[in-house]
């Protein structure tokens, strides 16, 4: 029941991405090409999604708990740090080069097009590379801390 309802929610998301054009790099890249073949569609995608989520969240988060879990899992880290900004900046460069973001690419896998699989394979490699680097720097920081104390 829990898995089936979650599958349906993923399906709604995937249909939304497909209809909106977010799964189509040509459209995404043209949104950012204000100086060229500008296609403003993406602003309505983000606008529609944010407005619905804004009002929906206000209703849902009035509850003391979600329907099939004991508690809401909301990110609580309020810090705007270098890691957040540098990561987001690098993500933007990659998005501008390839035209796929993760939310666009995952549903687009369903089209079976080889380019989506190539992008997703590189995306996965990037995620593992970054996780490895973060773990390494964490281990080094812990070692330095031990030496100091």
């Amino acid at each position: 029941m829990r898995l089936f309802s979650t599958y349906l929610i993923g399906l709604i998301f995937g249909i939304g991405i497909s209809i909106s054009g977010m799964a189509n790099p040509a459209k995404v890249l043209n949104f950012f090409d204000v100086a060229g073949y500008w296609d403003p569609s993406l602003i309505l995608v983000m606008g529609g999604a944010v407005v619905v989520a804004f009002f929906g969240y206000r209703l849902v988060l009035r509850r003391s708990a979600p329907l099939i879990d004991s508690t809401f899992h909301l990110p609580e880290n309020p810090r705007i740090d270098r890691r957040l900004l540098a990561g987001s900046a690098v993500f933007g460069v990659g998005w501008g080069i390839a035209g796929f973001c993760p939310g666009g690419a995952l549903p687009a896998l369903g089209t079976g097009q080889i380019e989506v699989f190539a992008f997703t394979a590189a995306l996965i490699a990037g995620i593992f590379a970054a996780k490895g680097l973060i773990a390494l720097s964490g281990a080094r920081a812990a070692r330095l801390l031990r030496q100091e104390t």
Binding site: V34, Y37, P75, G87, S88, A118, I124, I127
Partner: protein
């Protein structure tokens, strides 16, 4: 010098708006049922490293639903959603790698920060979204109008 292909796309306001609203609806439903943020980055990372994310079955169900999205569109309309990739394979792979590194350091992408975080008025997500929208736009400008000129 990257080979430059640009595919013109039409402004599709109604598809963009309705698709965006479905993305918002899916985000609200995931919060209502499981109390979770709808972030493609988190879903993919959770599926890839199940040991670090115990109880990750729901992420796999969500991913399966997302991938089914284009097939549902095909079943209803008789047409697979269009995925046009105006980007060469090497650029697609470089872009994918950068996206993977960026979203891991930045803790999110267009869906997690851009939709869910913005809808919660999270300062962190607003900063992340502003950053990647800016660098994506700059990257597209440089590729199409500086390098491509």
């Amino acid at each position: 010098m990257p080979e430059l292909t640009v595919i013109e796309t039409a402004f599709t306001p109604w598809q963009a708006l309705s698709g965006g609203m479905l993305i918002g609806l899916a985000s609200v439903l995931l919060m209502l049922t499981l109390g979770r943020i709808m972030g493609a980055t988190g879903v993919l990372a959770g599926v890839l490293t199940p040991s670090a994310h115990p109880g990750s079955g729901w992420r796999l169900a969500l991913l399966a639903g997302m991938v089914s999205g284009p097939l549902a569109v095909l079943a209803v309309t008789g047409q697979m959603p269009v995925v046009q990739v105006p980007v060469s394979m090497p650029m697609l792979l470089i872009g994918g790698l950068l996206v993977g590194v960026g979203v891991t350091y930045g803790s999110g992408c267009t869906s997690g920060h851009g939709v869910c975080g913005m809808a919660r008025l999270s300062r962190r997500s607003i900063a992340a979204t502003a950053t990647f929208m800016l660098t994506t736009g700059l990257t597209v400008y440089v590729i199409r109008h500086v390098l491509g000129a």
